[in-house]
């Protein structure tokens, strides 16, 4: 009971924080809007009012984008750490981001007139291809996949694919187009993108919540899970599909954003413990908190210039992460 109360309190606090961050994000930016502008933009939208247009067509999709991306990245990170039994795993370390980025580069290089939807399909395909490749490589050696080999394979693939994308970008002068994807940011998220990609992220998150109870099993070794009569491969495959959807779409929307997937699940675990039925929902909301907060800082710290979003995430997230890691170390 106590644990459930603790979980509810953390969930409510992080939801309140998210609400505050959303309100601040819609009001503040390169120019500041009053509450009435925001209210009117949502409920009595006038097409030729520029302030209302900024709120409705730039700020709101941007905030929704940040929420979805934060949840997607943090959620897929938690999933990765759990299925690989490696606390350092995230979609970046396993090479999945690099695969998505490589396919984006290829789409820019050879199909420059592709729609957003087209490039997204490319990047999700890249994420899927890479994750399957990483799992195949890591299962070549043994009958069962070892977490260490999985991460090593992921890092090797990641280095290889990044080299190819950089090479292609240099050869075909794509540096300019791709710069955005290297820094990462939610500044360009539009309603059209949200309509196309939002549902997919939502599907990924639903699969993730559905998987959460089964993830608890992954505290045990594969042998133990099997001897308890459960088949772990089904969970692994579903988890992989989920990671591919979430990280592939995230990369195509905002580029490669480091650290969210790595640190947020750890923060959730520090706060509420080891039960994935609680870790996953909290991870999703805390992920959204971090990205919305980082995006808010990114556009208010030095207006009208945008500071790269990924930079802020590292600046905000890493010290907090180190603080928590130290605190936990002292308790043990």
């Amino acid at each position: 009971m106590n644990q459930r109360l603790k979980f509810s309190i953390h969930l409510i606090i992080s939801l309140l924080l998210l609400t505050v961050l959303i309100i601040l994000s819609i009001r503040f930016g390169a120019n500041k809007n009053g509450s009435s502008t925001v209210f009117n933009a949502i409920f009595h939208f006038q097409k030729n009012n520029i302030d209302q247009q900024i709120v409705r067509n730039i700020r709101i999709p941007r905030v929704i984008g940040a929420i979805l991306i934060g949840a997607a990245l943090a959620g897929s990170g938690a999933l990765m750490q759990s299925i690989t039994k490696n606390p350092m795993a995230d979609s970046g370390i396993l090479g999945i981001n690099s695969g998505a980025a490589l396919m984006l580069t290829i789409s820019f290089a050879f199909f420059p007139h592709l729609s957003t939807q087209g490039t997204t399909i490319f990047s999700v395909f890249g994420a899927a291809f890479t994750s399957v490749l990483v799992f195949i490589i890591s299962s070549l050696k043994k009958s069962q996949t070892s977490p260490t080999i999985l991460v090593l394979a992921g890092m090797a693939i990641s280095a290889f694919f990044t080299a190819i994308s950089e090479g292609l970008a240099l050869l075909l002068h794509l540096k300019q187009d791709l710069a955005f994807w290297h820094f990462g940011g939610v500044s360009a998220v539009s309603w059209t993108q949200l309509k196309n990609l939002g549902p997919w992220i939502a599907i990924g998150i639903v699969i993730l919540l559905f998987l959460a109870p089964s993830l608890n099993l992954l505290h045990l070794s594969d042998d133990s899970i099997k001897s308890l009569g459960r088949n772990i491969n089904v969970i692994r495959i579903l988890a992989l599909v989920c990671v591919v959807i979430l990280s592939g779409i995230s990369v195509s929307l905002v580029g490669t954003v480091a650290f969210v997937g790595l640190i947020i699940p750890h923060i959730a675990k520090f706060l509420i413990g080891t039960d994935y039925r609680q870790i996953i929902p909290l991870t999703l909301i805390l992920g959204a908190d971090l990205t919305v907060c980082a995006d808010l800082i990114a556009r208010t710290i030095n207006p009208p210039n945008e500071t790269p979003f990924g930079l802020i995430i590292s600046l905000v997230g890493v010290p907090f992460f180190i603080y928590l890691a130290r605190k936990d170390g002292n308790n043990a």
Partner: protein
């Protein structure tokens, strides 16, 4: 009656044939211990019996039924398996770990029944872990941690419990605690125990049956007195052992490297 039987079982692991045509019978309600040198195939055999490895040839029978034709969810209600010491799950509390033992009896999204709670309490009590139930595994001693894993197997409430080297890395007091707990499960709860052990004196003191394996083949099997003989130990371990009797069980007082011919 035999709870487990293997018939002409061959197992390859990482492309090497590690068990050759092995046929053994393990009686119900007794403690049967596998002994043999490192790399002889003890763990492979334990994992094959536990249905964690598939034999490349031959059949394993659990309660006279071909284990390959049973569902893993049904096998989980008949035998609990404690794999070799692992460092996983150290973030969990003792109670959380023991709760996993009830998984075979729960539907995927169902919450725990009264029966589940009772079995968990009972398992914690058996393993003398009531006072440590909310402690994380990482804060426990090696012996306490091993008792927690055994408690998970107890909570699984199966007739057969399989343990792969349950005393590895423990000091002698904790080794004894674990062996006494296993013995108690056999005597008071009538569980069939199948385990692999390195310590021959523990094997001789606590087992009913011994199965000696060398290079993936059955060397000798039977009651403790029959297996622990000077000649057998020469053949199995290449050692010359001085065997005395303690509480009418053989005990190895000291041993040396055997320099003669092995048969």
């Amino acid at each position: 009656m035999d709870i487990i039987e293997t018939k002409d079982v061959c197992v390859s692991y990482e492309k090497k044939l590690t068990i050759h045509d092995l046929s053994i019978k393990i009686p119900k309600g007794q403690i049967t211990t596998l002994i043999g040198p490192n790399g002889c195939g003890k763990s492979t055999l334990i994992r094959t019996i536990a249905h964690l490895l598939k034999p490349s040839k031959g059949t394993v029978f659990l309660d006279s039924q071909n284990i390959a034709q049973k569902k893993i969810s049904d096998i989980a209600k008949e035998m609990a398996v404690l794999p070799q010491t692992n460092n996983l799950a150290n973030d969990l509390t003792v109670q959380e770990l023991v709760t996993f033992g009830r998984i075979p009896y729960r539907k995927r999204f169902a919450s725990m029944s009264k029966m589940d709670h009772e079995k968990i309490d009972w398992a914690l009590e058996k393993a003398s872990l009531q006072d440590l139930r909310d402690r994380r595994l990482s804060t426990l001693s090696g012996g306490q941690r091993q008792r927690a894993w055994i408690a998970m197997a107890i909570a699984q409430d199966t007739d057969t419990i399989i343990l792969d080297e349950p005393t590895t890395y423990l000091d002698l007091t904790h080794q004894l605690d674990v062996m006494l707990l296993i013995k108690e499960l056999n005597e008071k709860e009538h569980r069939t125990i199948i385990m692999a052990l390195h310590d021959l004196n523990h094997a001789a003191r606590f087992s009913d049956q011994l199965i000696a394996i060398k290079k993936g083949q059955l060397q000798v099997s039977g009651p403790v007195q029959k297996v622990i003989t000077q000649q057998n130990l020469r053949n199995i371990f290449d050692i010359d052992a001085k065997i005395i009797e303690d509480n009418s069980r053989p005990m190895i007082l000291t041993y040396d490297r055997w320099r003669g011919e092995t048969v």
